[in-house]
């Protein structure tokens, strides 16, 4: 039985790119900052990265269990909420998710433009830039799920081909002794760092919306896990690189550690490689924003049969208006708000529906039996 035309769905392996793009955000440029004292665990932050990754792995497994226990035609975020929370509360939760995805997109959008302003063009007029990015988002999302997956693929590829090889040039300058002494922080500091760092991973909830568009979705679980592993690895690499490159004192005053140490690379024809990284990162940010917006458009379609192309235009208009009238200080507030909402949604909502689904009827199995 085929649920969806191959023209609209993607093969299980593509879950890797989708998850990877959601997990590795713009935070990779400054996550080291969040691990600084007084509350952070500084050079022991790698423990927090591993713990956070394991936690997300557990939550992803929960999501897969929940999804597997749904009727295969209704295995999506929208239907799950409608099923378990009733029509009224279900719709409400769905709208929270829609707004949450849009907010996430906006936060990345804003942060990225801020990075461009900081690193590339301090005096640039930003609204043409935002319009450019918004039109790219429109082009990506209007192409449907396959074009989103494509941009995720290119984003992942570029991240690896552009950024990882550059670390080779950093290695002569690193001082492993910066990591010592190990385990010299107290438990509350570890807890704080883990909590702060796990904010990088909260977009993993996108899986619930993406799931129905994957062929043989149950097979994709492996790829989602690999994506979590790969992103944890990327964060670990950057963590170690920056903590070994900078001393703690330097890190405290370095706002964008990743970009700062990449700035040291000098090739015979080029230097200041962070210019390229910031520019190419557009592809990654574009992908991350597009998935979120696609998910909200699609959820709106499932709930109220709103035409996604119209809804997309409305969202982008909101983006533009919000961006034009934003306060300089709002970036950090929005970011905080987004992180804390995400915390609730990921760490409370996912286990909640996991437990409910375990208690409730397993519709996934009966469906499978009915087929055979």
């Amino acid at each position: 039985m085929k649920l969806m035309n191959d023209k609209y769905s993607v093969s299980p392996g593509n879950v890797f790119y989708l998850m990877y793009i959601s997990l590795v955000g713009i935070g990779i440029m400054n996550f080291q900052q969040k691990m600084i004292l007084p509350n952070g665990s500084e050079n022991d932050g790698w423990i927090s990265i591993i713990i956070a990754a394991l936690l997300i792995l557990l939550l992803t497994k929960m999501m897969y269990v929940v999804l597997a226990r749904q009727d295969i035609k209704k295995a999506s975020l929208v239907h799950i909420n409608l099923r378990y929370f009733g029509r009224f509360f279900g719709l409400m939760i769905n709208w929270i998710f829609i707004l949450y995805f849009i907010l996430g997109g906006f936060v990345w959008f804003q942060t990225y433009i801020q990075v461009i302003q900081l690193w590339l063009f301090p005096n640039v007029n930003v609204w043409p830039l935002s319009l450019l990015i918004i039109s790219l988002i429109y082009y990506a999302v209007s192409g449907g799920f396959q074009s989103i997956t494509a941009i995720c693929f290119w984003g992942t590829l570029l991240l690896y081909t552009f950024i990882l090889p550059q670390l080779y040039y950093i290695t002569p300058y690193i001082r492993p002794s910066n990591l010592l002494p190990m385990f010299n922080h107290n438990l509350s500091q570890y807890f704080f760092t883990t909590r702060e760092f796990s904010h990088e991973f909260i977009s993993c909830i996108i899986l619930l919306a993406v799931y129905p568009f994957v062929q043989n979705p149950k097979k994709s679980q492996k790829w989602a896990f690999i994506a979590i592993g790969a992103s944890a690895l990327i964060y670990l690499i950057y963590f170690f690189m920056s903590y070994m490159y900078f001393s703690l004192g330097e890190l405290k005053i370095t706002l964008w550690p990743t970009l700062s140490f990449i700035a040291m690379i000098e090739l015979p024809v080029l230097q200041r490689m962070e210019y390229f990284i910031v520019a190419v990162f557009l592809l990654k940010i574009l992908a991350a924003i597009s998935i979120g917006i696609w998910a909200s458009c699609h959820s709106a379609k499932l709930m109220h049969s709103i035409r996604p192309s119209r809804f997309l235009l409305v969202i982008l208009l909101i983006f533009f208006v919000c961006f034009i009238f934003r306060e300089p200080s709002s970036t950090a507030i929005l970011q905080d708000f987004y992180s804390h909402t995400g915390e609730i949604l990921v760490y409370l909502y996912v286990p909640l529906i996991f437990i409910i689904s375990l208690i409730g009827k397993n519709s996934g199995k009966t469906e499978a039996k009915g087929n055979t």
Binding site: V10, G13, L120, V124, Y139, S147, T149, F153, Q271, R272
Partner: protein
């Protein structure tokens, strides 16, 4: 009859009207054909369309005394004439298209209810030398196609000696009634692709098909893209290779080009020559080609971006050279680059329209003198001349001309984006390009396959030309019903010499 929307309606309802209309042209001949005493035939034909020697042959054979007195009707005439494909009809539509296709029209005197049509089409004026002028290769066959479709099909059939090679003839064009030929290997090309291609050709509403490339645009998946979605080729080996991989080839009468599809982006970077060289060299040339294209896309844009916005990216030794070379140039880098790039385009366009002998002169005047003078007059910098001419050069490394056009076109928006937003502008261009490529489809299958959607098994013959031991399967993205191309010999473990050597 003849109610084609593209022509005024002549409203021919009788045969006599048709003859009257035709007689307005002086090359329309009406003659009596006396074969024997018992009956007289009247022949009509366009003398400019028929082959005189065929006509003589026909008359000669009909005057054979043994047969002559037996011919009393059109049907008997049809039996005795030596040409294949003659038929009797009274359908005016058919008569019109046949007469204007070089058929001889024969009627019995005083009778106009049935007509015999004999094909004696002349093929004078067609090119017969079939060198591959456009897609030249140093190694390998130099057999290309010509403007005659039958010869082209003959050329392909000579290499694919199998009944599985299906040739479908279709007619396209309300006025030109051009014969379109669709070829594929039955059981190897995906049937869905075949039916989709046929449906698209049948749906075409157009008056005159002048070239296969026109057909390309009429059946394409996306009209608003500079990228060619079907491979265009005049080389026989290329078309045969496409057929054997499971693609479909289409050509029209009067065009030396075949289009093959479904194509992918990387098909445009393959050259048949890759397969005639050792795989190491073939791969090397392919990598050169691909890096050349990437260079061509971004070189001028990078120059503009770095010099306009981010001079700090350039190391100080190089920056010194750049400043020295640009110190007298009064223009911003973007103007400098755009003017030079445009000059290259002017040269190419003028060179393409000129006879080759004048073209050489033009190359010297344009390339050498103009470039040198521009630098001496301090209108451009030396380094930009190097960058622009290199990127012009590298844009021509793609074996398919249509693709190199697309690449040269894309450079201009890139340069403008780079001038406005520097490296960020280039990233916007790159993102748009990747998105656009990923959204493209050729005959319904994705354009960027096997990269996205990723198909690891098909990657072996894309960036590099894999050795023949690895290419025994057809590319899977074409969804061929029969995957295996040839058996690879079983690997025998090769012992290294150091293990073997010693006394016998």
């Amino acid at each position: 009859m003849s109610t084609s929307p593209s022509m005024p309606n002549d409203s021919i309802s009788t045969f006599d009207q048709f003859i009257d209309l035709c007689s307005r042209s002086n090359d329309f001949v009406t003659a009596n054909l006396n074969i024997n005493s018992s009956c007289t035939f009247i022949a009509h034909y366009l003398k400019t369309l028929v082959d005189q020697s065929h006509l003589e042959q026909l008359i000669h054979s009909l005057q054979n005394p043994h047969d002559a007195h037996e011919i009393k009707s059109l049907d008997q005439l049809k039996q005795y004439n030596p040409f294949e494909g003659s038929f009797v009809t009274n359908d005016l539509d058919k008569i019109e298209s046949s007469v204007f296709g070089g058929f001889l029209l024969i009627q019995e005197e005083h009778k106009s209810d049935a007509f015999l049509l004999i094909p004696i089409t002349g093929k004078q004026g067609l090119r017969t030398d079939n060198d591959t002028d456009v897609e030249f290769s140093v190694v390998g066959p130099k057999i290309g196609f010509i403007e005659d479709i039958d010869t082209n099909v003959h050329l392909v059939r000579m290499q694919l000696r199998t009944p599985r090679l299906i040739v479908r003839e279709l007619t396209v064009g309300t006025i030109s009634k051009t014969k379109v030929v669709m070829m594929y290997l039955d059981g190897i090309a995906n049937p869905d692709n075949v039916s989709m291609m046929e449906a698209r050709i049948r749906e075409i509403e157009f008056d005159i098909i002048l070239d296969t490339t026109q057909l390309d645009e009429l059946i394409t998946d996306n009209h608003n893209t500079p990228f060619p979605l079907f491979t265009t080729s005049e080389r026989r080996d290329r078309v045969v290779f496409a057929l054997i991989s499971g693609q479909i080839a289409v050509s029209t009468d009067g065009s030396p080009y075949f289009i093959t599809g479904p194509s992918t982006l990387f098909d445009f970077f393959l050259s048949p020559e890759d397969y005639y060289l050792p795989w190491v060299l073939g791969s090397f040339f392919r990598v050169i080609r691909i890096t050349g294209v990437v260079f061509s896309l971004f070189a001028s844009a990078l120059y503009v971006a770095l010099l306009t916005h981010h001079y700090e990216v350039i190391p100080k030794e190089l920056l010194g050279r750049l400043i020295y070379s640009r110190q007298n140039v009064p223009f911003p880098p973007v103007l400098e680059a755009l003017v030079l790039e445009a000059t290259v385009e002017f040269l190419r366009e003028a060179g393409a329209r000129l006879p080759s002998r004048i073209g050489q002169t033009l190359g010297i005047v344009g390339g050498v003198i103009l470039g040198q003078a521009a630098v001496d007059a301090a209108l451009t910098s030396n380094i930009l001349i190097i960058v622009v001419s290199l990127s012009a050069l590298t844009s021509f490394v793609t074996p398919i001309y249509k693709m190199s056009n697309a690449i040269r076109f894309i450079r201009f928006p890139m340069i403008i984006l780079a001038a406005m937003w520097g490296l960020f502008g280039i990233a916007v261009g790159l993102s748009f390009l990747l998105l656009h490529l990923s959204r493209l489809e050729s005959l319904g299958s994705p354009y960027t396959v096997p990269f996205f959607p990723l198909r690891a098994k098909d990657l072996n013959d894309r960036f590099i030309r894999a050795p023949f031991s690895l290419t025994s399967n057809r590319p899977g993205y074409l969804r061929p019903p029969f995957l295996k191309r040839y058996e690879t010999p079983k690997k025998q473990r090769k012992k290294s010499k150091i293990d073997e050597e010693g006394y016998v």
